[in-house]
């Protein structure tokens, strides 16, 4: 993201905030260490933002993988976002870009085939990470009403696929034997990491206030996804599946959480039309995004 921004707008001053200095950080980035879970984080961020006279803030401090530490996740995602928003208000930042996910709509049997941005965020009972994210979004929505002089952009990408992206979803799909709920074959959609970054870049550089789903065009059923990757599928009845998935998540290895499998059971496909209109047509379709992930991981074997 940073590299892309520097290429696109060379004169830009980029400030990085993280709880630890990233490995291989671009030297053109002015880095500050901030821990969002500290109670005084908001003051510190506000101080940095006003010192650097920041115009836009991209808030992506969220877990890519749910951890077994529920408290910590909540502190970071919900309370941490509050700190960020308070700091933005104090430092009068003009633009705030928040990363969310289409998972916040929740995978429910009564979802329509395409969820628009106005659909209620029902979250998911079984997945605390999604719940936290949904709570964060409601905080953002509240904050937005009170601070009308800041342009708030909320981007909700669906599952991201690509050669370098790595989170609990890609980890799940890289398993040699993919366990899936028996008797279900839902439609899934992905977005390529480049398209997702493009949307973030556009939202940071140009005013796009509002909420946007970031998706690729097209949907594919789960079974097709797995056969495209040459994967073996292990269909298990629901009860057994959740029992099995409990074991590694109890062992704190960051495997798919409880509630994750509902996302492979019910529909939660989002309608990305608004995002396409604002940020341009995505380069990759769902299938292409998936294939780029598959080929980068060299999943296909010769038989």
């Amino acid at each position: 993201m940073i590299r892309r921004l520097l290429e696109r707008a060379p004169g830009l001053r980029i400030v990085g905030l993280d709880h630890r200095r990233p490995y291989r950080l671009d030297p053109r980035v002015h880095f500050h260490r901030v821990d969002l879970t500290e109670p005084t984080a908001d003051g510190r961020i506000a101080e940095i933002l006003s010192k650097e006279r920041a115009d836009a803030l991209v808030h992506t401090a969220f877990r890519t993988e749910p951890t077994p530490d529920l408290e910590m996740d909540h502190e970071l995602e919900t309370i941490g976002s509050r700190h960020v928003m308070n700091a933005c208000a104090a430092a009068k930042v003009r633009r705030l870009v928040v990363a969310s996910s289409t998972m916040v709509y929740g995978a429910r049997p009564d979802n329509p085939n395409f969820l628009t941005e106005s659909h209620p965020l029902r979250g998911h009972r079984g997945a605390h990470q999604v719940q936290d994210r949904a709570e964060m979004e409601s905080l953002v929505a509240e904050w937005r009403v009170r601070h009308t002089d800041t342009e708030v952009t909320v981007l909700r990408p669906c599952w991201i696929m690509g050669p370098t992206y790595w989170d609990h979803v890609t980890r799940y799909f890289s398993l040699p034997l993919v366990p899936t709920p028996m008797g279900f074959d839902p439609l899934l959609q992905f977005v390529h990491e480049d398209d997702c970054l493009h949307a973030f870049e556009q939202a940071t550089l140009k005013p796009h206030p509002g909420v946007f789903n970031i998706t690729a065009r097209g949907v594919i059923p789960l079974s097709t996804i797995l056969s495209l990757a040459g994967k073996r599928r292990l269909s298990l009845p629901g009860a057994l599946l959740s029992r099995i998935s409990e074991v590694p998540s109890q062992a704190q290895s960051g495997n798919p959480p409880e509630g994750f499998f509902d996302y492979l059971r019910y529909l939660w496909v989002a309608d990305g039309a608004r995002g396409w209109e604002a940020f341009g047509e995505p380069v990759y379709t769902t299938k292409e995004a998936w294939m780029s992930f598959v080929s980068a991981r060299r999943m296909r074997r010769y038989r």
């Binding site: 049997p109 009564d110 329509p112 085939n113 395409f114 628009t116 709920p181 028996m182 008797g183 279900f184 074959d185 839902p186 439609l187 097209g218 949907v219 594919i220 059923p221 079974s223 097709t224 056969s227 495209l228 073996r232 599928r233 019910y266 529909l267």
Partner: protein, 328 residues
């Protein structure tokens, strides 16, 4: 070895030439024998079967049962063109031979979509939706495949969901219907919903309440014509004698239907009976003159809904009258 008579050499019965020919044929025969030696006796059947490949093949076949001919390319609502094309062969058979469907009134349909067809619902398995969509395809092969709306509990039922979606079923909800109509599809709706599907035998062909007027509201808002459709015969192909509550709770179903063949014959009992089907389509109703603001007039909506229900009930009565008997 017998020498084949050579028609070309016969007129010139030169003995030297004949001998030469004989020689040449002999050498040819030797050469053939040399190149293609006689087959060795066939080995015993099980001697060198590639067991590994066989098991691999078997495993792959088992894991792809029922899905073997899917194309993987689905439209945005999950319909698979190849599965639909394959199902048409079966549906053709059912349509012509099994149920002898008598469809009338399809010429009144608008030439191009969008259009909302409203029909009476019966039976647990959505045969009526499948057959009506198939009938529309036969009458108007150039139209995009008509999509039928399916109640929530059925379209999210395990093992049913993948098939229904591939065959063109869509979850019945407002957003989906709007989207389908917006892209110019023919949409088949069954506003009776679960109440229609779960009618028992003695309530047959008595239309239930039409939800909350969603169909009419949709037609008012989007300005698409409504076509009432009466389907006769679907009730008898899957007749529900009574509802069995106790085992259904365990399975997560609203109830377990008891038909003359189900659950007596097990899964075979889910097969429909060969009743005679009559489908009658009414004149399209257009609400365009009412304007889209009429969609907020609840009284008007309930009046129009009741009118629509009466119309479909009338079409069903016509269909019942035209049918000589349940099986005939």
């Amino acid at each position: 070895m017998t020498e084949p008579p050579d028609s070309h050499s016969e007129p010139r019965s030169d003995s030297a030439e004949l001998a030469e020919l004989h020689e040449a044929l002999g050498s040819l025969r030797r050469e053939i024998l040399e190149r293609f030696p006689a087959r060795e006796p066939a080995p015993s059947l099980l001697a060198d079967v590639d067991w590994e490949a066989l098991f691999d093949d078997l495993r792959r076949r088992i894991s792809s049962i029922g899905m073997s001919e899917r194309s993987g390319e689905v439209d945005e609502f999950g319909m698979d063109e190849i599965v639909v094309r394959r199902a048409r062969r079966v549906l053709d058979l059912l349509y012509d031979r099994y149920w002898r469907v008598d469809l009338d009134g399809a010429d009144q349909l608008p030439d191009a979509g969008p259009c909302l067809l409203v029909a009476n619902r019966s039976g647990m398995v959505p045969w009526d939706g499948l057959v009506l969509a198939h009938g529309l395809h036969r009458e108007h092969p150039l139209h995009p495949q008509a999509r039928f709306l399916v109640a929530d509990w059925l379209i999210t039922l395990p093992f049913v969901q993948p098939y229904l979606a591939r065959l063109g079923g869509v979850r019945a909800c407002r957003e989906n219907a709007e989207r389908l109509l917006g892209s110019g599809h023919f949409v088949i709706a069954f506003p009776e919903g679960a109440k229609g599907a779960t009618k028992v035998m003695r309530e047959r062909y008595q239309l239930q309440r039409f939800g909350r007027g969603g169909v009419v509201r949709l037609a008012l808002e989007s300005g698409v014509p409504l076509v009432p459709v009466g389907i006769v015969g679907a009730e008898e192909s899957n007749p529900i004698l009574f509802k069995w509550q106790l085992p259904a709770r365990r399975l997560g179903l609203p109830f377990l239907p008891v038909t003359p063949t189900f659950p007596l014959l097990g899964p075979l009992g889910a097969l429909p009976l060969p009743s005679k089907w009559v489908i009658r389509m009414g004149e399209p109703l257009s609400f365009e003159h009412l304007g889209s603001e009429a969609a907020s007039d609840e009284l008007l909506i309930s009046r129009l809904t009741e009118e629509l229900r009466a119309r479909i009930q009338g079409l069903v009565e016509i269909g019942l009258g035209e049918r000589e008997s349940v099986w005939g």
